[in-house]
Symmetry: C2
Subunit: 278 residues, 2 copies
């Protein structure tokens, strides 16, 4: 069971397109179930709305139910009330006893993997805000990642028995990886040049920041014993989803993060991801 | 499974005392489980807060966990984020197959019952807002009903097999009764003088409004076959909780509400309860 609250101004623009918002509101919760290796089954939606705007609601519902249909979940309850726009979904999934993926199982020597191309959502956001101008079709790809994230449900199910720990990337690749490290009592060595390129061309610091610290991607970061390496590459091919090995778990104080570049030199980054109250 | 969202300014005063708010945030959700005859088990709490105020959070948590302890529920998940104050609880309970109380089972001839003294919370609100001055100890009783409602969990469990339909009174006695009538495809005859008196003395129209249309009481309204009448009175005695018969279900178009006074004369009331978008 998982719950996520989305707030206008914090998680999305107050003028966000309603259909995309409906999709994303559900998708980010299914992403949490995916990170646990669970099969999504039922969801509840509670929403505070400033007013009962039927056009907005119809578009929101269209996006929400498109996502529900794609992942075969049923809306089984909810609540509506008046207030500043706030959307809270609770999602319920099923997983066999002792097969759930946790954040706490990573072991020294495990490989670290990430699905898809983290950073796209942050680049889409920068593009939307005019801080960066992306060429087409990259702009479209990045805005799609931002507005209509794909929860990695199939990947999560397939990682049962393969991953020793998993998490979805909502606050940034390194920030969410650190949750695994802290819960597992280990550290990690991360190759900053090993992450898949968003394809912007010149790898500027803005691109690196997006890859390492951009949130909102809803890719999965997971740890897995090196003996599973070929199986995981085959899984990526089967799902047509890039799975990239970008580091390894090390015996070190919980949460230790050593960043190195392609030549093995230490890398310093400005911030590690989104913190809700800083 | 049930979810309820509480919004500052709509469900509580922006300056509401944090400990009471913590209690109430959980209590109103347990009330929904009580109305289904479910044993509360697990809860999740998602909250948007304008800032991380540790004193406020400590008081809120004290109230929330006092309620959790009293009803033996475990907090198993949640989410925190920045935003206008909004609290969303999802509560999960257990009930044996086919024993859940629903809104849809009321039959013509059934008695209509209400627990406790509906209207107290609305009178407490009027007192707090200065629209009414209540004497002590009545003021204290009504403010307690408003700020620290008691979910009728034990009653709900005991009503399995006795009640044909049940609901908790969050929007007002008649408004919530009407949900039962509509879902059951029946009408009701309600004796407005049969409801338990909040003990204000002169039964002003303000008091009657509170009894019939005041929300936020979290008492249970339920229908039950007349053959169970003695059993229900005995149940009230066992729980030290007044259970009052205030009407009966009739064969009539779904949602029909005939209000009559002690002499059998029709009664007209101004509004039937709280509507979220009027």
């Amino acid at each position: 069971v998982t719950t996520d609250m989305l707030v206008a101004g914090t998680h999305f623009f107050p003028d966000a397109e309603a259909e995309s918002l409906g999709w994303k509101t559900l998708a980010v919760n299914l992403s949490d179930l995916a990170a646990m290796g669970a099969q999504p089954r039922w969801v509840l939606l509670a929403g505070a709305l400033p007013e009962a705007d039927e056009v907005w609601l119809a578009a929101f519902a269209a996006g929400f139910f498109a996502c529900a249909r794609q992942f075969a979940v049923d809306l089984v309850g909810g609540d509506t009330t008046r207030g500043p726009l706030n959307l809270c979904v609770t999602a319920i999934g099923e997983v066999p006893p002792d097969q759930a993926l946790k954040r706490s199982g990573a072991l020294p020597g495990d490989d670290l993997w990430v699905s898809g191309v983290p950073g796209r959502a942050a680049l889409g956001l920068a593009h939307r805000q005019g801080r960066l101008v992306l060429p087409e079709p990259l702009a479209g790809t990045c805005l799609e990642a931002l507005n209509r994230p794909q929860p990695r449900v199939e990947l999560g199910l397939a990682l049962r028995g393969l991953a020793s720990a998993a998490i979805d990337v909502s606050d940034g690749t390194l920030a969410d990886l650190r949750h695994i490290l802290e819960m597992s009592g280990v550290g990690a060595e991360v190759g900053t040049d090993s992450l898949p390129s968003p394809g912007v061309g010149a790898e500027s610091s803005a691109v690196r920041d997006a890859q390492l610290a951009g949130g909102d991607d809803y890719e999965l970061v997971f740890a897995s014993a090196a003996t599973h390496r070929q199986e995981i590459l085959a899984l990526g091919a089967r799902l047509s989803l890039p799975l990239t090995r970008f580091g390894r778990v090390i015996a070190a104080p919980a949460g230790t993060l050593n960043l190195i570049d392609a030549r093995g030199q230490p890398v310093t980054v400005g911030h590690l991801g989104y913190a809700h109250f800083q």
